[in-house]
Symmetry: C2
Subunit: 450 residues, 2 copies
């Protein structure tokens, strides 16, 4: 049962490639997934790559390269000869190949010039669409038929086109000017009478997307309708290409990564972690850190304003980090849950009162427990009883306050048509830190009679 | 161009259902995605539901119900008659229906008793597998053929079985004892000579999974190999069922939600946010909050130990929340990025030194800028110059320290075979809070000559 990624000794494999036992190389490679093979490709010298390609065939190499991140794939292709790079790109699906060509920089034109004219022009066409849109994700290799064909004739056409098409499971029906008029599935064709006409079978209400639409919307649409593919059309409803379901998982993964990076309080990297240069990491992080720092300045202002109280009761300062971090943690729990629920469509603006009511209830429960815990802790430190009561009351109040802010802000931002994902856990923590301290010190003023 | 979810006035739609213009109801409903229709179903009264089912047919209703979360679907089914509920479950894919039956509680047996024997026993079989495993996700409605058939005979068989099978795009080949011996794609069959035998076409090295394997592993396997379906087998390699690609997007979404909830510092809810009771939210959150609170206690201990210094220089306490939150934010940025990179397989244990080196470099850059910002801030507050220098130096040191801890801990946990996702942003912040304060106060002792 082959399930775990096959552990393979890369050094041994390299020796095998060079020693030239083609059958053995093929046997070992056939046990590897394309993703695993791709990782090995990255470690090979150009000469070893050429040998491996002779053993496995350029199709297998192309399938593996397609699994790499486009920037990694580009780095691989510039290490082999232009003719070899061109061969690999020709064998890749045009949408995947285009992503790689975009990363090739100056080499792009020279490698495209080595390619077959048809394949190169497919890529040139796709290069005109931004990569995170439907146009950038689509393949121009789809099967389309006319509505007046019979099922038998359509099947014969399909047989001829199948080797080149990325998917033959949905067949799009177009008129003589390429306007999309419907869709039939291969499943329908297999079951139907060969004499029947396509126009009698086709579903005319096919869901379609314009080329400019964001890839995330495409992914959600495919997922919501459980489709294997979506057709992409121009302004005049002419069929331009097809987006297949295997791209959707990649898109969802990318988008979840962006959400997670934002929730962690930095700007999304936009490329795989290990590909990102340290300077890119620095830039993506420092922006938010400085912004949060500006927000956190209020804490020092507030503490300075209360310096008399802090001098009289130095024990008050013992609880500052404890209260600040408890408030921040409670806010972080709420904001991540609410933002995720909004991202997957579970919570909408009309749910604002439901969310607020339940969060306030939970906040009171959580706040009550945390207030008690803080009080107990203060007792064990033998601080003044009034300071202990102050800290306990403040813990409860701060948790409730943090919960309310963390629940309301993301929904409010969505209402203002801003992206709620800018609302990160650190941002909530920062917003709550200053006001939390104010709550603490105002309670202190009253309880301690300062 | 139909792209945005169709806005539909539910009250108007209900009146339409009751007024009984079937053609109009069908027209409006055909413009709705199954997901949108499902949301409307939740708002209908039982009588309205029955009427709508008469208009649209039970298949369409079943398709819509399949889009609901299983607990919501169950709540819908107990509101209609048992016979109607049984009809809807019969029309659903058995894997989806099983998820709903699991949520039906006491009603489950009574509704199963109303169902056709075949469909009910499919569900009873699937109920024996935990729902988050391959067995719980698979459908028993697959197409399998014997290797000695011709392509023509296989196509005839397919035509007969197609209406019932969940997918006919992969056809699994089994021997007379149901052992999985290979796979052919519908695409291959369409292209092949009808006289050819299946055994000459089949790929014997078909990737398969055991029924007990976790659904996340299944999703990654399907995705890595760009497959439309995966066969599930028992210990003797007998074919039990098939998992189709449309389940994968759901699984990946669920798993990303769990990761995000953990990163936010609470235990995963395991159900949609609005379904979770406030008490469940409380339980999932309080565990981590109390644990983090225990960790944060070190801060009060450390501050108490340095109370003489804090009394002499009360200005020192002004910067405590600023330093603590900057350290926490820097740690949060790093830990979310590293954990996500590990979750999608970009970073492995062997990368530990690469990660540490680049994070230390980035940490020094970020720490330098934050140190400068803190120093400037202290100047504007007109505090003692030594306190200002102390705060600036501490900011740099704390950022570097937080970065190192946040980069190393997740990888270290993975090494210890623990789930790195328990390493949340709040946990890193808590770990760094105490040590950060210690760094600050030790620098203070030296700079201020205390």
């Amino acid at each position: 049962m082959r399930l775990q990624p096959v552990a393979i000794d890369v050094r041994l494999f390299r020796r095998l490639i060079v020693s030239g036992d083609g059958a053995e190389v093929t046997r070992v490679a056939s046990a590897l997934s394309n993703g695993d093979l791709a990782e090995i490709l990255l470690e090979l010298a150009p000469a070893e790559l050429s040998r491996l390609e002779q053993h496995l065939g350029v199709e297998r190499i192309a399938d593996a390269v397609a699994e790499l991140d486009p920037s990694e794939a580009a780095r691989l292709l510039v290490r082999v000869s232009r003719a070899e790079a061109a061969d690999i790109l020709e064998e890749m699906e045009p949408d995947d190949a285009t992503d790689v060509v975009e990363e090739l920089g100056e080499e792009a034109e020279r490698i495209l010039a080595e390619m077959e004219v048809t394949e190169a022009s497919e890529i040139r066409d796709l290069l005109t669409y931004p990569s995170a849109t439907a146009g950038g994700r689509m393949t121009p290799r789809f099967v389309s038929i006319r509505p007046d064909l019979t099922v038998g004739a359509a099947m014969r056409l399909l047989r001829a086109q199948a080797p080149d098409a990325e998917t033959i499971y949905y067949i799009y029906v177009t008129d003589h000017e390429d306007h999309l008029v419907g869709v039939v599935s291969l499943r329908q064709l297999v079951v139907a009478d060969p004499q029947q006409r396509i126009e009698a079978l086709l579903r005319p209400d096919v869901i379609r997307v314009p080329a400019e639409i964001d890839q995330e919307d495409v992914a959600r649409l495919l997922m919501d309708h459980d489709l294997l593919a979506l057709p992409v059309v121009d302004e005049e409803e002419r069929l331009l290409g097809v987006i297949t379901a295997d791209d959707v998982a990649d898109v969802l993964q990318e988008e979840a990564t962006e959400d997670i990076e934002r929730l962690g309080g930095s700007q999304p990297l936009g490329e795989p972690y290990l590909q990102a240069s340290p300077f890119l990491l620095f830039r993506k992080r420092i922006v938010w850190l400085l912004f949060l720092f500006l927000g956190a300045l209020q804490t020092s202002t507030i503490l300075q304003a209360f310096s008399d109280e802090l001098s009289s009761f130095v024990a008050l300062s013992f609880f500052i980090p404890l209260l600040v971090s408890t408030g921040g943690n409670a806010g972080s729990q709420v904001v991540t849950t609410v933002i995720r629920a909004m991202a997957v469509g579970e919570v909408r603006f009309r749910d604002v009162w439901v969310v607020l009511r339940r969060e306030l209830l939970v906040g009171l429960l959580v706040g009550g427990v945390m207030g008690l815990a803080t009080l107990l802790r203060a007792q064990t430190m033998h601080v003044d009883a009034h300071v202990a009561i102050t800290a306990g009351l403040a813990a409860t109040a701060i948790v409730v306050w943090a919960t309310a802010v963390a629940a309301l802000l993301p929904i409010g931002l969505r209402r203002l048509r801003l992206d709620p994902a800018v609302m990160s856990a650190p941002l909530i923590a920062t917003l709550v830190d200053g006001t939390g301290l104010l709550i603490y010190l105002l309670i202190a003023k009253n309880v301690l009679g300062l």
